[in-house]
């Protein structure tokens, strides 16, 4: 029966099978692996399929670049649990709360700095919600503006390096992780600047959205004390950012080692600030184990799935379909982006990156695009999908972490997020016209 199935049917069965069957709500790793196992069994027989499954999972668990996943997670978890970067928020708050919309801008700036220290969106969104949402809402900020800023700025965490998504993306597409990190920097900062501008303009025009905080609510410290406080608050995030991105940018170490240095820096800073406890040492290790175990299980399994998919000739089918889109290479690229965006709305990024990137990357190269630029366009696009309703990881995390007494509803968050989504979409167009935004920093390395 195997010969009867054409490659197109196999492609449809494999991709469609995964899409439909993950809706059962069963852990996606097992669903994806079973689709690969069954199709492989029918096409190549048991021995070959089992071998693909085992050898690919085995080699993924021994992968050196992917060690950056546990290491960056470790660093983020230590920072989150010890709270040594939280102080920066208070300092920023004091300096900016006197302006209209100042707190929302502070939230975005703080979120951007958080993003440069953490690598997983769930971490940065939940941390930002816990620290920044209540001060805004209790000071009379519009709930939509407040929660929208939190979600948009928190989601930057997966784009601005160090980001686990970039770590995972780069090897799949044959790009260096370091270059990808550097390429993500300017677009991330650009988005952050656009968010600030947007919030600033809206609150300036309509002060009800984000009223200025009156002087008496601010702390009255002398200038010198304030500066010392600022320095003390800035040291942890700067230390982390320098130890990680500095090592990568200066070419001292590949990301895996930079992540180890970053983790060490986080631990040393936590000890210096007297926040490191035995309990945190245990919990941080367990949380790191949990996150990296689930990421790497999906990674290994998708690697096996793609192995079966490619051996069955399905890669060529997708290739032909996308290449035959009328309207030239930009139309083909748009189709890829739209498909990934829709997938990103429904499925967690881990699955998308591991399945789609190996399939899509050769097409992007054949279309004549720079793989680094296209990779970052895709990551920015996915980043947008994570905050697009109805299914949006970031929104769910924000809603889930928000203290109930604030009364922030799902509608508030969705209403607040839409303008930010439009900003990201416009930015994607800008990055297409001026690819230098993405390619400039990597070209310096």
């Amino acid at each position: 029966m195997i010969e009867i199935l054409s490659e197109k049917v196999i492609t449809a069965l494999m991709l469609g099978g995964v899409l439909v069957l993950v809706m059962t709500g069963f852990p996606i790793a097992f669903v994806i692996a079973s689709v690969a196992l069954i199709m492989g069994f029918l096409l190549f027989g048991g021995d070959i399929t089992y071998h693909i499954l085992y050898s690919r999972m085995y080699s993924m668990t021994l992968s050196y670049p992917f060690l950056a996943v546990p290491l960056f997670t470790f660093m983020g978890v230590i920072l989150q649990m010890t709270g040594i970067i939280d102080e920066l928020y208070t300092v920023l708050y004091d300096s900016m709360s006197g302006f209209r919309g100042g707190l929302a801008i502070v939230t975005i700036i703080f979120g951007t700095i958080l993003a440069a220290c953490l690598g997983v969106i769930t971490a940065s969104v939940s941390m930002l919600t816990m620290i920044a949402l209540a001060p805004m809402v209790t000071r009379g900020y519009d709930k939509s503006i407040a929660s929208g800023s939190v979600v948009a700025a928190g989601t930057l965490g997966i784009l601005i390096p160090p980001s686990i998504m970039l770590v995972v993306y780069a090897p799949q597409a044959g790009i260096s992780i370091g270059q990808m990190f550097m390429g993500a920097f300017l677009p991330g900062l650009f988005l952050s600047a656009c968010y600030c501008t947007y919030v600033g303009i809206r609150c300036y025009l309509n002060p009800k959205l984000g009223p200025a905080v009156s002087e008496d609510q601010k702390s009255m410290l002398p200038f010198g004390a304030k500066m010392i406080r600022l320095l003390k608050a800035l040291l942890p995030p700067l230390g982390i950012i320098l130890s990680v991105l500095g090592t990568i940018f200066l070419g001292i170490a590949p990301p895996t080692e930079a992540a180890a240095m970053g983790s060490l820096a986080a631990v040393l800073l936590a000890i210096a600030y007297r926040k490191m406890t035995w309990d945190i040492a245990k919990r941080a290790a367990l949380e790191t184990l949990r996150v990296s175990a689930l990421v790497l299980l999906i990674a290994g399994i998708c690697y096996a799935y793609v192995g079966v998919f490619m051996s069955a000739g399905c890669g060529n089918v997708v290739f032909d379909i996308i290449m035959s889109v009328p309207g030239g290479k930009w139309a083909s690229f748009l189709v890829i982006m739209v498909i990934l965006f829709i997938l990103g709305m429904f499925i967690e990024w881990i699955g998308i990156v591991f399945i789609m990137v190996p399939i899509v990357s050769p097409i992007i190269v054949a279309l004549g695009f720079d793989p680094l630029w296209a990779g970052l366009m895709i990551c920015i696009n996915l980043q947008m999908a994570f905050q697009t309703p109805p299914m949006a990881m970031s929104i769910f995390v924000c809603k889930g972490t928000a203290p109930p007494e604030l009364g922030v509803t799902m509608e508030d968050i969705i209403k607040g997020v839409v303008p930010f989504i439009i900003i990201i979409a416009l930015s994607l167009i800008i990055f297409s016209i001026f690819p230098q935004f993405i390619t400039f920093l990597p070209s310096l390395m």
Binding site: F30, L37, L62, Y64, L67, A284
Partner: protein, 172 residues
């Protein structure tokens, strides 16, 4: 029933301790990773053992974490529809899905990974990524063990779901 409950508790305990003990390897990753980086770049004295040690320690973290993640139910699900189901319907879905997606897959994985582990011990297989040439058998054994633990945790979940659906109450 008491016997069954004890067995399930035993499986839970194994998964839990797999996670609780393997977590210390994350500290090893940090310390060895930083040590190697500092030695290589500032003292120009890289070690021969760090690369393989890091890879194997990382691998052990993931593999030992698999069953732990399943114990605390944190493997990623697409819960678009799943969250809207009642507790009982969730259990029914999981029972059906386990039969189709979990058991055949995991039995294959446990079988083939054990086969490779046995083979690696028998032929003294070595890893060839670096000049250190460590034996591959211990890591292959860890892989087989982790897969077995994951399978057992799946069995435990399955029995609990089945009990809940048929008896209308939780087994424990």
């Amino acid at each position: 029933m008491i016997f069954l409950r004890k067995i399930l508790k035993g499986i839970d305990t194994m998964s839990k301790y797999a996670g609780l003990s393997a977590r210390w390897l994350t500290w090893l990753l940090v310390l060895v990773g930083a040590y190697e980086t500092i030695l290589r770049h500032w003292f120009n004295a890289p070690t021969v053992w760090a690369y393989d040690t890091l890879c194997m320690a990382g691998g052990a973290v993931y593999i030992m974490g698999w069953s732990y993640c399943y114990l605390i139910d944190s493997h990623v699900r697409v819960d678009l529809f799943y969250t809207r189901l009642s507790e009982k319907n969730k259990a029914i879905m999981d029972i059906i899905s386990s039969l189709i997606f979990f058991f055949p897959l995991m039995i294959v994985l446990v079988w083939i990974s054990s086969k490779w582990a046995v083979k690696a011990w028998r032929i003294d297989e070595i890893m060839i990524a670096t000049y250190w040439y460590p034996p591959a058998a211990p890591f292959r054994t860890v892989f087989a063990l982790g897969s077995l633990l994951l399978l057992l945790q799946g069995v435990a979940r399955f029995i609990r779901d089945l009990y809940f659906v048929t008896r209308g109450e939780h087994l424990d």
